[in-house]
């Protein structure tokens, strides 16, 4: 998180991590399509000829603080930059560069049975990279998405439910290519990240938006019709943080 009082801005960095070809860029493209212009900027993709991510993709969002119940706005802007890392093994150093300074991570896993091992390898890679940056994965807001639910030969819902109930992180099911589960995952991640940062830095007070109003505000400005609670409720297993734990 970066705070720029002069520019009246707070910037968050969210990173979509995961194995090669799990659909990180597709998530971002869908998110771009599912939101309206205005709060959402241009999607920047730095890719190779064969459509694989070379360095990263980045989708910027800019949310203008709305005052609580008619109160005047503080004029603060919450900028959210969503990055994807390149999944291919060989881009290890780029992955580390992009991950640096992330406030929250969405791990995009491939649901196909054949990809199970790659998911695990990429997760270990994430953990290792965080470790090298002296960060603990437990302290990082993290959600998991099982993407490609539309394909055949994927791990069944029942299995995912069992797996998800064992884990700590909220799990979302998605078919990013059809735009399903994309907003759910993003709002799940935003919820987790916001809760942690607000608990630690009281950023709700800083930008003048009540803690429980940020997500509805984001949905409104991004032109999302679905109710935020409905989006969050699609989470299977794991646990969403209930409310920001404000530390005195």
């Amino acid at each position: 998180m970066q705070i720029n009082f002069g520019g009246r801005e707070i910037a968050l960095k969210l990173v979509y991590y995961g194995p090669a070809l799990s659909g990180k860029t597709t998530n971002l493209r869908s998110l771009h399509q599912l939101t309206t212009e205005g709060a959402r900027g241009r999607l920047m993709t730095l890719e190779t000829k064969d459509d694989r991510t070379l360095f990263f993709d980045m989708l910027p969002l800019a949310l203008r603080a709305e005052g609580a119940r008619g109160a005047p706005s503080t004029g603060m802007t919450l900028r959210i930059k969503i990055f994807t890392v390149p999944g291919q093994i060989l881009h290890a150093s780029t992955r580390r560069l992009v991950l640096q300074g992330a406030d929250g991570v969405a791990f995009i896993a491939d649901s196909q049975i054949s990809e199970t091992e790659h998911n695990a390898a990429s997760f270990f890679d994430l953990r290792q990279n965080l470790k090298e940056m002296s960060l603990n994965i437990k302290a990082l807001p993290l959600v998991i998405q099982f993407n490609k639910r539309d394909l055949e030969r994927v791990r069944p819902d029942q299995e995912l439910a069992v797996l998800a109930s064992r884990g700590r992180e909220p799990v979302f099911k998605a078919s990013a290519v059809n735009g399903q589960g994309v907003l759910e995952t993003f709002f799940g991640l935003l919820h987790q990240t916001w809760a942690k940062l607000d608990g630690e830095h009281q950023i709700a007070k800083m930008i003048g938006v009540p803690s429980d109003q940020l997500l509805p505000m984001a949905a409104r400005q991004l032109g999302i019709k679905t109710d935020v609670q409905t989006l969050l409720a699609s989470c299977v297993g794991g646990a969403l943080v209930r409310a920001p734990q404000v530390t005195p």
Binding site: N4, M44, L54, F55, K81, T94, L97
Partner: protein
């Protein structure tokens, strides 16, 4: 962050809020863009950066403006209007109209990128569609003729408000695209650099670790050589006694032995000798490896050394029914070398050749003078590459000694390894042919100690040639 963290982060690289028109856009290209808009719609376009610097200008002046500037008061009024337009902010809506005293107007439109203002676009002067007559503000200026002013005002490009809005929107969109492309190219190239730097950093770390491991291994290797030298030396002393006493026993100094006892004692003596020669080889090797082998170098001739080797090994060859021959060469060249060590070299090579040659085979020893062709004799595959020889090395004369056999031969892929200590092409051959696997490694080191080289070639149709090249003594 940790000490390993790179100096620039990806977030810095995105230049959040620090993107400026001047940095991202080529000035000439921007000028061209503005000119094409101006020629398309007949209205001047200017672009100012956030800091107020003029970035692009179509530099066209309306006839009315030229006329107004011919009068003192007109000039004053014009420059104050222009100054006001230049410094006027686009306001909260990002789009304002600024009137000119001539009845014309300017539009000032904010240029934004990524939700932040990066500059201003000024369109005008143009004549709003609702202005028909020259206003008093123009006509009241001393020196302005009403009729002429009206004529020139009519020549001013006339535009509807929505037309100007459309032009501005179009220009804004084009600029946004240009900025985005510039920004993307900037990020890509910077990111590329950062990735390379990060990979380099990792590589450097790994290299340092490898170097450390290598140094440690080298030290261990040195310790091993020392140990080997010490142990060999300590083994030799009692062994000499064993050999001496068994010899004395065999010669009956301690009383007559039975035939069986004599047989046993001779075996002890023979095995003792074998062990001694192994220990001597180990000692030689460790001395050669540590560079402490002392060689008595002098001017010498090779022919007598070779003749001695042949006569020494003739009985062995005869026993195996292998023909051993020294080809006459009439070689008179002199070398600088240690005759004792060179004798050891050729004794070893010829002994090996006899060992691996079946009965009725031939082992031939020959010597010849050759010119050094500058190629590396260690690697036979490059022997025929003679490109650039003129540049590579002065011609030296070498003496080449070839030990050719008609034995089992050595496969090409084994050749580089046969000179490694303790290496045997086929470990079962130790049982069949005997030997310690030390001989060739000692030979190679001795030859190199003489500034020479050794390589293995095929002997057609079967067998091996060991070719030893030694530099001739300087005249």
């Amino acid at each position: 962050m940790t000490a390993q963290a790179p100096d620039v982060s990806v977030d810095d690289l995105l230049l959040d809020g620090r993107i400026s028109l001047e940095d991202m856009v080529d000035r000439d290209a921007l000028d061209e863009l503005c000119r094409s808009f101006a020629s398309l719609f007949g209205i001047s376009v200017r672009i100012y950066s956030k800091e107020g610097a003029l970035v692009a200008d179509t530099a066209g002046e309306q006839e009315l403006c030229v006329y107004v500037n011919t009068t003192t008061d007109g000039r004053r009024a014009c420059s104050s209007t222009v100054a006001a337009v230049r410094s006027r902010d686009a306001g909260p809506s990002g789009d304002v109209m600024h009137p000119c005293f001539t009845g014309a107007a300017y539009r000032i439109i904010a240029l934004e990128y990524d939700g932040r203002v990066v500059g201003r676009l000024i369109v005008g002067p143009f004549l709003p569609a609702n202005v028909t007559d020259a206003p008093a503000t123009l006509l009241d200026i001393p020196g302005i003729a009403t009729e002429r002013a009206a004529t020139l005002l009519a020549k001013m490009p006339r535009a509807k408000l929505e037309t100007v809005t459309r032009i501005a929107a179009h220009l804004k969109a084009s600029l946004d695209l240009i900025l985005f492309s510039g920004h993307k190219a900037f990020v890509t190239s910077k990111m590329h650099l950062m990735s390379v730097r990060e990979s380099y950093r990792q590589l450097e770390e790994k290299t340092a670790r490898l170097q450390e491991a290598f140094d440690r291994l080298k030290e261990l290797d040195r310790l091993k050589s020392n140990f080997l030298a010490t142990v060999s030396h300590e083994l030799r002393t009692p062994l000499t006694s064993i050999i001496g006493y068994s010899e004395m026993l065999g010669e009956g100094f301690a009383g007559q032995l039975t035939a069986e006892q004599l047989d046993f004692v001779k075996t002890i003596h023979g095995k003792g000798d074998q062990l001694l020669s192994l220990i001597m080889s180990l000692l030689d090797l460790s001395k050669l490896e540590s560079g402490t082998m002392r060689m008595t170098m002098g001017t010498m001739r090779l022919e007598p050394v070779l003749a001695e080797v042949v006569s020494t090994l003739a009985p062995t060859a005869r026993k195996k029914r292998v023909k051993l021959a020294l080809a006459p060469s009439g070689l008179l060249a002199e070398l600088r070398g240690d005759p004792e060590r060179l004798r050891q070299v050729f004794l070893n090579l010829v002994e090996n050749a006899i060992k691996f040659t079946p009965a009725d085979g031939t082992v031939t020893l020959s010597a010849a003078m050759i010119d050094d062709d500058g190629t590396s004799p260690d690697d036979g595959s490059e022997g025929d590459d003679d490109s650039g020889l003129a540049l590579l090395a002065p011609v030296r004369t070498l003496v080449e000694v070839r030990v050719a056999d008609t034995g089992i031969g050595i496969a090409a892929r084994e050749r580089p390894r046969v000179f490694d200590p303790f290496y045997q092409v086929d470990s079962s051959s130790t049982r069949e042919y005997g030997g310690t696997g030390l001989g060739l490694s000692i030979v190679k080191r001795l030859v190199e100690g003489h500034g020479g080289s050794i390589r293995i070639e095929d002997n057609r149709p079967t067998g091996t040639v060991f070719a030893v090249r030694l530099p001739q003594a300087p005249p």
